[in-house]
């Protein structure tokens, strides 16, 4: 370890320090929520600055275990944004329920630290450890409302299935390591390039790939490894659901980028069919089940599964030889992050007072009761639907276009994605219909969210619009970030 190594992983170090600072502030100044929130947001701001200072630089640290490139910077920025937004949305929800802010913020920052490590890790062991650092705090967050039976139930399901899948992933990693003889991504790539050149792959390696793919598919909630999603999302406190629906998901795709695109790049012809099948199953099933949901949180959970499917189309496009698939994945990840967090945040705003359910009936007449909140929700939902000119449209357009360019079976996949995007309109617009075409069941007072919350909503909304109207800005970043290792 040297000072330059530390400089390379500076964002991660800074992030750990932020978590520590939150806990110290909590100990030193108990019951000072402003101090805690200020520490968390300010700290994340500093982390963001540290990341931005790294922009454009490349390098590797710890003997190649961690590498800094445009991809790392891009993903780190998304993760920091996710953490900051979660805190902005969380405060209004966590406080009225008597849950501690400090633990919430600290655990969240730990989780995001794990995600940031994934973004930069080019070593299988580091990747696994970073993954665990991301998901273990996630389990705690899912069960954060520890007196709420739903929250703990969702959390324990998430934990049990998550640990199960971690074991499966680890088993696969062990075999890939045993065959390639190294944990470094470049070493694995080199070894596998020889394997790919040699023709067929050995059964042991095939099994390792299978276990690894299953583990990663679980983390990104691809069908048929998606079962944990609806329960975990529905049970969790809503701002935490917002986090869970984007943080671990983008993290899982970061793993996919480092592991499949990076390490397993030479074998991409072999994992391409698997990704195609997964993508087709995931978007179709996610959409079909989402149509019949009456609970908006659960509906958004299934829709997030469908979005995984669309992102997988981008991965398939890459494996099919279309490099632009990578920037499409990144664009989708960023756009999805903001629009999906926004949608969950509106649900959270309605649930600000304890006892309000996320049933679709809660949204009846929202457009009149609270025009601002209704309009924001409409923007997020239309963006998730993929209506131009909002972020979701370009996200879908990019992955689909990349798949079309790749040709072959991927054209069929692209058409399936379009059909799915068309079908998805039903359940998103159903909420819009409830907001604008139903009388409110009871005259709920407009929920006037706090300042922090409004800032968060404003940021997500503006980004959703900016990504739609000026996609070139984001596309420039994703194009730069899409050029890495593999």
């Amino acid at each position: 370890m040297s000072w330059s190594d530390l400089g390379t992983i500076a964002p991660v170090v800074a992030s750990v320090l932020v978590a520590a600072a939150i806990l110290i502030v909590d100990l030193a100044l108990p019951n000072r929520r402003q101090a805690i929130i200020a520490t968390a947001l300010g700290g994340l701001g500093i982390v963001a600055v540290v990341i931005l200072l790294q922009a454009g630089h490349t390098g590797s640290a710890f003997g190649g275990a961690y590498s800094l490139d445009n991809l790392t910077v891009f993903l780190d920025m998304i993760f920091v944004a996710i953490a900051a937004l979660t805190i902005l949305f969380g405060v209004d929800y966590i406080e009225p329920r008597g849950l501690p802010i400090a633990e919430f913020a600290a655990i969240l920052v730990f989780a995001v630290t794990g995600a940031m490590l994934i973004a930069g890790s080019t070593d299988l062991v580091l990747l696994f450890v970073a993954l665990e650092l991301m998901v273990l705090p996630g389990y705690v967050l899912a069960g954060f409302a520890r007196r709420d039976p739903y929250s703990t139930e969702g959390a324990i399901k998430y934990f049990l299935l998550g640990s199960f899948s971690s074991a499966i992933l680890l088993f696969g990693l062990a075999y890939v390591w045993g065959i390639t003889g190294t944990t470094r991504v470049d070493g694995v790539t080199a070894a596998l390039a020889k394997v790919a050149a040699g023709g067929s792959i050995q059964p042991g390696l095939a099994m390792g790939l299978a276990f690894m793919s299953a583990g990663v598919a679980f983390k990104m909630a691809a069908v048929p490894f998606h079962y944990w999603t609806p329960d975990a999302y529905q049970g969790s406190p809503t701002p935490i659901t917002a986090y869970l629906s984007v943080g671990p998901k983008v993290g899982a795709f970061a793993i996919a980028l480092r592991l499949f695109v990076g390490a397993l790049g030479p074998l991409r012809a072999d994992w391409l069919p698997v990704v195609i099948v997964l993508a087709a199953l995931t978007m179709t099933l996610g959409n079909l089940v989402a149509i019949s949901q009456d609970n908006v949180k659960r509906m958004l959970a299934y829709s997030s599964i469908a979005h995984t499917g669309y992102i997988l189309v981008g991965l398939a496009a890459y494996a099919g030889g279309q490099h632009s698939g990578l920037s499409a994945i990144l664009f989708y990840g960023a756009a999805y992050t903001f629009m999906n967090m926004g949608a969950f945040a509106v649900v959270a705003a309605l649930q600000r007072r304890p006892g309000v359910s996320s049933q679709i009936a809660t949204f009846a007449g929202l457009g009149r009761r609270d025009p601002w909140l209704g309009a924001l929700m409409a923007v997020f939902l239309l963006s998730l639907t993929g209506i131009p000119p909002l972020a979701g449209f370009w996200a879908k357009a990019y992955v689909i276009l990349a798949a079309v360019q790749a040709g072959g079976w991927l054209t069929a996949l692209a058409v399936l994605a379009m059909v799915n995007a068309a079908a998805a309109a039903f359940y998103y617009l159903r909420v819009v219909v409830y907001m604008y075409m139903r009388e409110p069941a009871d005259e709920l007072r407009p929920s006037s969210p706090g300042l922090l919350f409004r800032v968060g909503l404003g940021v997500t909304c503006v980004l959703t619009l900016v990504f739609g109207l000026f996609p070139a800005i984001a596309a420039a970043a994703t194009n730069a970030a899409g050029v890495f290792g593999g």
């Binding site: 399901k157 049990l160 199960f164 792959i201 793919s213 089940v289 920037s327 131009p388 276009l401």
Partner: protein, 653 residues
């Protein structure tokens, strides 16, 4: 001049945002901003449109403005830009003028509706979307407008959502439109993969230069036409439009008669270089168009809901436009689009005024004798009916005559023949509507009858203003035929395609074939009007069948076959049913029955079936989510095994 263009869509957008967010607080005045935004937009649009039509003020044969480079990534270029030429100018005139008048009309129509601000916000959003669609310079932006008008239509059809039928109709409209939209989206994708650009002018240049193989041209043209068929409600995607009449009447006038449904016609006309290069597809366009024309006209015969008659009439007239496009009479199609926009908007607004007068009754069997009670509405609607029927020298005469003449002269005799019949049918059912509504004895509920009153000025003034173009538009821009103003305006848009098609537009000769056709058509139309007047115009109070709904379903009629001959000639009611009998039971009965069956069972059934199947599949899949962790884990384990087997298969490949 071009810097004015972005203002046209942005003003209504600003109106939408302000009204949508603050409308509720504005209370009774919530319409002000929305209406003024559209009026301002209209002013700008008029300046731009006439600049474009006069080929002057820096617009010439077409000029664009690029706001910003929308997306330069993925080797893929699309600009956020607008393009105006003479075709756009024509559409601008129709859309903004009718849009503005409908806004003004709605002030009165929606005055007492608690959701007025919402209504005006949606109307503004619609205006923005429609203008975006018309002005866009690339396919992607057109698609954005295309999707947004669909969304607005959905919101507005379902505006009176407590009515179950309204919600159902909105859903149906959305569903059917998505089918067409898929075609459009696929077309865009095909264009992009084949040509690498989505800028319309660039695409047209490439197509004209032979940059696209003939197969791809045909594929793209067909897919584009799919989109047009959905939005313009052509067979077999026509089923949503009649149901869409559940929306408030100004919406029907604006969206479902005068503007949005024209989007398909506009798209085909705009893409004339693509369609011109695919003669096979042109025949399809003509066939679908003329078939929809006669199908819808035949259905309009039996409808009793005043708005539904107008809805089927709209389908029929849109069919005319597509037929015209299909035979290569591009200008005639746009001409008919414009004249139809005005008189159909007038007729819908007039019907709204009628419905308003008789206490929200839409069944024509419970109307009658309204002519004297609501004279302004009556006179203006009469003008509209004469115009749509095609009596010279009103607008409809010139545009319809041009379409029929175009079909005849370009050798599509079958299109002409069907179109000729439809012209007669149109005149008949329109005057049946007029007769049942305004003439003869009153069948209005006596209680309602006392309150019948003419609509307020905000509602009648738009009617009068719309009646003017319905009368004069033809003379103004369509005379002399085939060399009038409109032809001069639109010549640069279509001349290349027409020249490439190898046909020169034959000169108009009144003393030759053209005059002959016009005279024959006019004779037919006049005969049909006289027949309708005889059937519905005769006052017949003696039988005392006031206010009793007349059964006129085909099935009921055929059951009373013996009876109807007894009453023949004694009552307008039975004249009509006898006519139905003659038309539908004797020689058209089975066809009409089949049409209805096809409509209600096959197409509706398919539409509803898709919904049911997906919902059921969703419910079935939902059952997998049992809530038991072990069941989930077993699912994961099975997935893992499947994946392992999959990889083994790949490995031994």
């Amino acid at each position: 001049m071009t810097y004015l263009i972005p203002l046209i869509p942005l003003l209504p957008l600003a109106g939408f945002v302000v009204t949508g967010l603050l409308g509720r607080q504005m209370g009774r005045e919530s319409h002000q901003i929305a209406v003024w935004a559209v009026v301002a937009s209209w002013l700008v649009a008029m300046v731009v449109a006439f600049a474009a039509l006069a080929h002057g003020f820096g617009i010439g044969d077409g000029a664009g403005i690029t706001l910003w480079n929308w997306i330069p990534a993925l080797g893929f270029k699309a600009e956020m830009g607008f393009y105006v030429d003479a075709l756009t100018g024509c559409l601008l005139i129709v859309v903004t003028t009718i849009g503005m008048l409908v806004h003004i009309y709605s002030i009165g129509y929606m005055a007492h509706d608690p959701g007025k601000w919402r209504f005006f916000a949606y109307l503004n959003l619609f205006m923005f979307s429609m203008l975006l669609l018309v002005l866009a310079d690339n396919f992607l932006l057109v698609f954005a407008g295309w999707e947004l008008v669909g969304l607005c239509s959905y919101l507005l059809i379902g505006f009176w959502y407590p009515r179950r039928s309204a919600a159902e109709a909105a859903k149906k409209a959305f569903l059917v439109n998505r089918v067409g939209d898929m075609g459009f989206a696929l077309a865009i994708m095909a264009i992009w993969t084949q040509l690498g650009t989505l800028n319309m002018q660039a695409v047209f240049k490439l197509v004209e230069g032979g940059g696209l193989s003939s197969t791809w041209v045909a594929v793209v043209a067909l897919l584009l036409f799919c989109g047009a068929v959905g939005k313009s409600a052509q067979f077999p995607l026509h089923v949503w439009l009649p149901d869409a009449m559940e929306g408030p009447t100004p919406v029907s006038a604006l969206i479902h008669a005068a503007t949005m449904v024209n989007a398909g016609v506009y798209l085909v006309a705009r893409c004339n270089p693509i369609f011109g290069a695919a003669p096979g597809v042109m025949v399809v366009v003509a066939a679908i168009g003329i078939f929809t024309a006669i199908l819808a006209a035949s259905i309009a015969f039996t409808q009793t809901d005043i708005k539904r008659v107008l809805a089927y009439s709209t389908l029929s007239q849109l069919g005319y436009m597509f037929a015209s496009l299909g035979v290569g009479a591009w200008t005639a199609a746009i001409f008919h689009l414009m004249s139809h926009g005005f008189f159909k908007g007038l007729l819908f607004l007039g019907s709204g005024s009628v419905i308003h007068a008789v206490g929200d009754e839409q069944d024509m069997r419970k109307m009658g004798g309204l002519a004297r009670k609501i004279p302004i509405t009556y006179v203006t609607m009469l003008i509209g009916s004469v115009a749509i029927a095609g009596v010279p020298p009103l607008a409809g005469f010139f545009s319809k005559d041009e379409i029929l003449g175009g079909a005849f002269k370009s050798g599509f005799l079958w299109v002409w023949a069907i179109g000729f019949v439809v012209a007669g049918m149109t005149a008949f059912y329109m005057f049946r509507l007029m007769g049942m509504t305004f003439w003869g004895p009153s069948h209005v509920d006596p209680e309602v009858e006392q309150h019948i009153h003419e609509s307020p000025l905000t509602m009648t003034r738009p009617l009068i203003l719309l009646a003017l173009p319905a009368v004069f538009l033809g003379l103004l821009i369509g005379y002399p035929p085939e060399s009038g103003l409109l032809h001069q305006w639109l010549a640069p848009v279509f001349e290349a395609t027409i020249a490439a098609g190898g046909r020169t537009e034959a000169a108009y000769s009144f003393l030759g074939i053209d005059g002959g056709l016009a005279i024959v058509t006019t004779l037919l139309v006049v005969t049909a009007i006289v027949a309708a007047w005889r059937l519905f115009g005769v006052d017949m109070p003696a039988i005392g069948l006031h206010a009793e709904p007349r059964p006129d379903r085909v099935r009921e009629v055929s059951a009373r076959r013996g009876l109807d001959f007894l009453y023949r000639g004694s009552s307008a009611k039975w004249w009509f049913d006898d006519l139905n009998n003659l038309l539908f039971v004797v020689w058209g009965g089975r066809l009409a029955g089949a049409v209805w069956w096809f409509d209600r069972v096959v197409i509706d059934g398919t539409v509803n079936g898709i919904g049911t199947v997906t919902t059921q599949a969703g419910l079935g899949l939902r059952r997998v989510q049992t809530g038991h962790v072990q069941n989930y884990a077993l699912g994961i384990a099975i997935g893992l095994i499947a994946m392992a087997i999959g990889y083994f298969l790949i490995a031994v490949r």
